[in-house]
């Protein structure tokens, strides 16, 4: 009896969590025609036929990917520097965590003004640089906690064989931490993929990413929900698949990385 109640609540809350995405899926499949309402892929066909949809997906991907690669590269180096050359970087680590929390609104105004002068508005590289403001601190913070868990003896052994610090990082530490770094990379990619405010203010046409594109599906008479949700379903499948792939590592690193 008590067990049944447990299941009812657990299944019920999962169902509640799924209501909004399932509702959107339903709306995306509804097609209004002269003969009434039917289910079909009309909205998907309409979205897929638009050049702007595909180019916005490419812009989102290119921006998120560039920011992720740079963050992981620089972040790994910084994490190595902070864990392998003595103590005393605790303060710096906390400062870096604080930087990650800075609200976008305070950064977006100066970047808008700066990019307007430099001609960087509406460019993928400009947007990717801004994404570093949150992705780089996150990368340093996460990778640092992974590197700290790798015993120093391993470095020592490599050094006795004559490896330089640089070689130790790339040939010894990175391969050991590869799964954890992959997890970090996927999370960073998802943060960038889901970012909206910077993209809305700083892109317009040539680098318009997917989320600000959605705002253009809102004519004065009301949003075109069918097309918005058709596009969104494709869009959010990407992080879902990425996270499903790394779920095992994610559960392990969650307590290690984010709370400590």
């Amino acid at each position: 009896m008590k067990l049944r109640l447990l299941y009812v609540i657990a299944i019920g809350s999962c169902a509640v969590a799924l209501v909004p995405p399932l509702w959107a899926l339903y709306v995306s499949l509804v097609v209004h025609s002269l003969s009434g309402v039917t289910l079909g892929f009309g909205n998907y066909a309409q979205v897929f036929s638009q050049q702007a949809f595909w180019s916005s997906l490419w812009h989102s991907f290119a921006t998120a990917m560039s920011a992720t690669v740079i963050s992981v590269l620089f972040g790994s180096m910084a994490a190595y520097g902070m864990t392998r050359f003595g103590r005393g970087f605790r303060r710096l680590a906390l400062l870096i965590l604080a930087i990650r929390m800075i609200p976008s609104i305070v950064l977006v105004i100066p970047f808008y003004l700066l990019f307007r002068n430099l001609g960087l508005l509406d460019t993928i590289s400009g947007l990717a640089v801004i994404y570093l403001t949150f992705s780089l601190p996150f990368a340093i913070w996460m990778i640092r906690s992974f590197f700290a868990a790798i015993p120093l003896d391993i470095d020592e052994a490599a050094r006795i064989d004559g490896a330089s610090s640089w070689a130790v990082l790339w040939k010894v530490i990175m391969p050991i931490a590869a799964p954890a770094i992959l997890t970090t990379a996927v999370l960073i990619f998802c943060f960038c993929w889901n970012e909206f405010l910077f993209a809305l203010v700083l892109t317009d046409q040539n680098a318009l990413t997917f989320l600000p594109l959605l705002m253009r599906f809102v004519p004065p008479q009301g949003p075109l929900y069918g097309q918005i949700f058709a596009g969104s379903t494709i869009y959010f499948a990407v992080p879902i698949i990425a996270i499903a792939l790394i779920r095992k590592q994610l559960e392990g690193s969650f307590t290690a990385g984010s709370v400590k």
Partner: protein
Amino acid sequence: MLKSNRLGAYTFLAPSLLCLVLIIGYPLVSAISASLYRWNLMSGLHRWHGIGNYISILTDPATGQVAVITIIYTLMAVALELILGFGLALLFRHGLAQKLNGFPLMRAVLCLPVVIAPLIWAFYFRSIYSPQFGLFNIVLGWLGLNAVPWVNSPALALYSLVIADVWQWTPFMFAVILAGLLTLPRDVTEAARVDGASFGQILWRIELPLLQPVLLVAILLRLIDALKNIDLFIVITQGGPGTSTEILNFYAFSTSFQQFQVGRGAALALIVFVVIMVLVMLLLAAMRRFDNEEKQA
């Protein structure tokens, strides 16, 4: 090797530090400087204003209302997320501890909303709340009840947005608290149970104190994120009806990019910044305490 080698460390830290100084340091200084001008991008006005923007913000009666709305939204959303997330976490811990079928899968399913872009989530709820064809009013219609103007009435709109926030972020609270609960030492609670302590006593006297650092970190993270939430406001209400959902972050945004008063907008954004940094300081202190307790354990 272990002895401090600052120079070595900084060669590896250099790219990141250089990057952060340029992309964080510069904009912050530039935002402060912008906030000291009366500056409108539409009219081209750009005149020194000193702390005038701050004075006019702090003496504007509208600011008081923005502050109240921000506090109601943030506290209400986070409180509900905490209560619901905690309840669900207790339930799932029970299910997971007894190795009941389906609980690991349901744990993952429950976390799905967190992965969806907040902007897309905002469109979900704009559609769900839509007066005629929205899910909620359709269901109310089935039940023979009157339609509710979810986001079209000044009295209700803010609470409707709270619901949308709670719906997406309760799973985050749930995931963090559950992870915390699963790391609690089981021998202590077992011993208490053997001694005849009830479920309520164990929860209140033993587990809650042990869990306190995790709860504090989770609450602060959510407070920070709720204050930064802007997608719901841009998509669903635009601060309206009237000014009933004009939250601080959105107010700074609309001042800067809809009225193009970037000087005043920068001053508002810096106020958001200061509020959030105060919470971040508390968060760092909470994490340090968490760290120390881990070391003792």
